[in-house]
């Protein structure tokens, strides 16, 4: 159970961060959020899909790292088996949360239940006499940067929805005796992309969206990579 709370220099004064705590926190996630800036790199490792957040109904871009819910094929014995680690995986236990829906101010929150936090002084301290340590400042900045990129990703997805090139696709994957069926995934549809009105297509180019769109499209071939890891 995660317990995300705003970071507090008093309450969390004695906490420290174990930096090589591994990937326990995403061990059970078959989908990891991605920002559009990562698509090119992510596409060399995993299928990039769009899924709806069950709580808000809003689309998120995700790396598909498992073939069924609660399976992460890339995380094994504290090792990451791919050449690319989604930035999201490295933020933990920090998250940046907007102070208000349309604000550009963030508060840094932490997952108090995280195994990478220690009360016993292991690793790097978060605060030195109530002042944020260098490690905390750096990790906090990373969390804010990610949240900002995530906003740009939302705008990117909204645009793709508007021009109707994302479509629902249940991924049926089978190999010999094993078969997997993943529902709730949406992907870029190549035919829809090719049939776009030239003007609309050029607007994608002008916004710098073409590279991530093609990256997402090509990434779907990485299903083979997942099957290999599942063996």
């Amino acid at each position: 159970m995660t317990t995300i709370v705003p970071l507090d220099s008093q309450k969390h004064q004695s906490l420290s961060l174990i930096s090589n705590a591994g990937y326990a926190h995403i061990q059970q996630s078959h989908l990891l959020p991605l920002t559009v800036h990562e698509f090119a790199m992510a596409a060399t490792n995993f299928p990039i899909v769009f899924v709806k957040d069950a709580q808000t109904g809003q689309f998120k871009a995700c790396a598909l790292v498992g073939l069924k819910p609660e399976q992460n094929l890339f995380s094994k014995n504290s090792q990451w088996l791919g050449s690319y680690i989604p930035e999201f995986a490295k933020l933990h236990p920090f998250v940046a949360v907007k102070t208000e829906a349309n604000s550009d101010k963030y508060v840094i929150c932490i997952d108090e239940s995280s195994e990478s936090l220690s009360q016993k002084g292991e690793g790097d301290k978060l605060f030195n006499d109530s002042v944020a340590s260098e490690v905390l400042t750096q990790r906090g900045n990373a969390a804010v940067a990610w949240a900002q990129k995530s906003d740009l990703t939302d705008a990117f997805i909204r645009h793709l929805l508007e021009v109707e090139i994302i479509q629902s696709q249940s991924l049926s994957i089978s190999k010999e005796d094993q078969s997997y069926n993943l529902t709730g995934c949406y992907v870029v549809n190549e035919a829809a992309l090719n049939n776009l009105d030239p003007q609309v297509f050029m607007s994608l180019k002008d916004k710098g969206y073409l590279a991530p769109i093609y990256a997402a499209l090509l990434s779907l071939n990485q299903v083979g990579n997942l099957l290999k890891l599942a063996d």
């Binding site: 069950a54 709580q55 808000t56 109904g57 809003q58 929805l161 479509q167 709730g184 949406y186």
Partner: protein
Amino acid sequence: MSSKTINQVVIVGGGTAGWLTAAILATKLNCRDSKSVQITLVESPTIPILGVGEGTWPTIRNTLQMIGIDESEFMRECDATFKQGAEFVNWRDTPKDGETHSYFHPLSAVFHSAYDFNLAPYWLLGSSPLPYDHATTSQSRISQLGLAPKKITTPSYAAIQNYSYHLNANKFAEFLKKHVTNKLGVKFISANVTQVHLDEEQHINRLSTDIEQDIIGDFFVDCSGSKALLIGDALNVGWHSIDDVIFNDTALAMQVPYPDENTPIASHTIATAQEAGWTWDIGLHNRRGVGYVYSSRHTSDERAEEVLRAYIGEEAEGIEARKIPLNLGYRKQFWKGNCVAIGMSAAFVEPLEASAIFLVEAAANMLADTFPRHKSSLGFVESSFNKTFKLRWDKSIDFIKLHYCISNRADTAYWRDNVDPSSIPESLKLKLEQWKYQPPTKYDFDYAFEPFVLDSYLFVLYGLGYSTNLAADESRYNDNKIAQAKFSEINLLTQRLVDELPTHRQLIDKVYQFGFQSI
């Protein structure tokens, strides 16, 4: 183009009927194209719209989608919520010592009786222990539990359980006006129509207004509400009253705020039978719309207000009730010459099954689909429009009357008068006779534009406990295994939906905050 071409359409009135008609016509006739007809809507700046009419039918989803409206935006701007049907409280019998009983008329049937397998005879023969509404559909239970018909991840306009909306009628008209004038190329004039001019063929050709210019047109739509400026005043088409069949001629309406923002919102209309009519109770996002529709021949306005306040309870304190007289019936002709009446100017039955807006959509759709671009086609369309809408209204009246005339309530003269055979239309009597020994089948509803179909009749008949005696005919219903399987399939589905669906309030809050995706 010759003067025989119809190019200018003028709609008089900007209530629900006027703006929906404008939207449907403008979309279907592609009015943004300069070669298409041009539509002008004129509305009085001083005469308010009726502003009631908060219940719709699922057809409204197609209509809104077709005219290019975003579902979440519509819901937010019109305080809209989801409607999954209606619950009829205390209609079956005279309630005893404060006890209540009810049945649902949901919008989803899991297995449409009309299409494949009719479960009704098996239910009548005792194949399910549940009441009819719960045995044959999951939606009764879903509504009863206050659950939503879909999830926030379900795309716009798509449904898990069929649904329509409850909405704020004034805001809806405003919302449509903005959309229709900004996006669909309809011209708007704010003025009072003061005089209607006819040419030698008795066709309307011009409207005088209280602003400078006259409004010229080739074709006119009368959406002026109960005023019926064109079809009634100018063209003298008479009114066919139905007050010998349907008695409720007055309404009292109230707007009741929720005690707090976590109050559950009902996802169905609650229609409770009262001593001289019935009360409606509709949950919008920020308030309830509650009212009493009653027969002034059977009660006084004072007594009616007492009944309404007693129904609402202390939340009614300090809130005023608005009285609305109802003129029940329909025009002897809906279409005459180059004018068609849509909305209250054309007909009104009483809001029991919330069918008025549905029939506005139906009329606007037919007008658009058969729109006469040449004056020589007017006669043909006029006669087919009049024929079909007379049928649709007669059939709506039969269905409304059904709720009253097979009730066992006998506590007041109102209910006793309602079962008097002289108040029941012959067409309905014939059917009721047939259904004494055989449940309704799809063949009883063979008209292509039947407003109320088999499933609706079944929910009402067996919700009210109508007795269909199959004793002499049991042998033909020998597919009991199939029926059992279907009944248990419905039960399983209900269970799954109960686990899966959010509460109505939860979903509404999410729709207002996040909105649905288009896919």
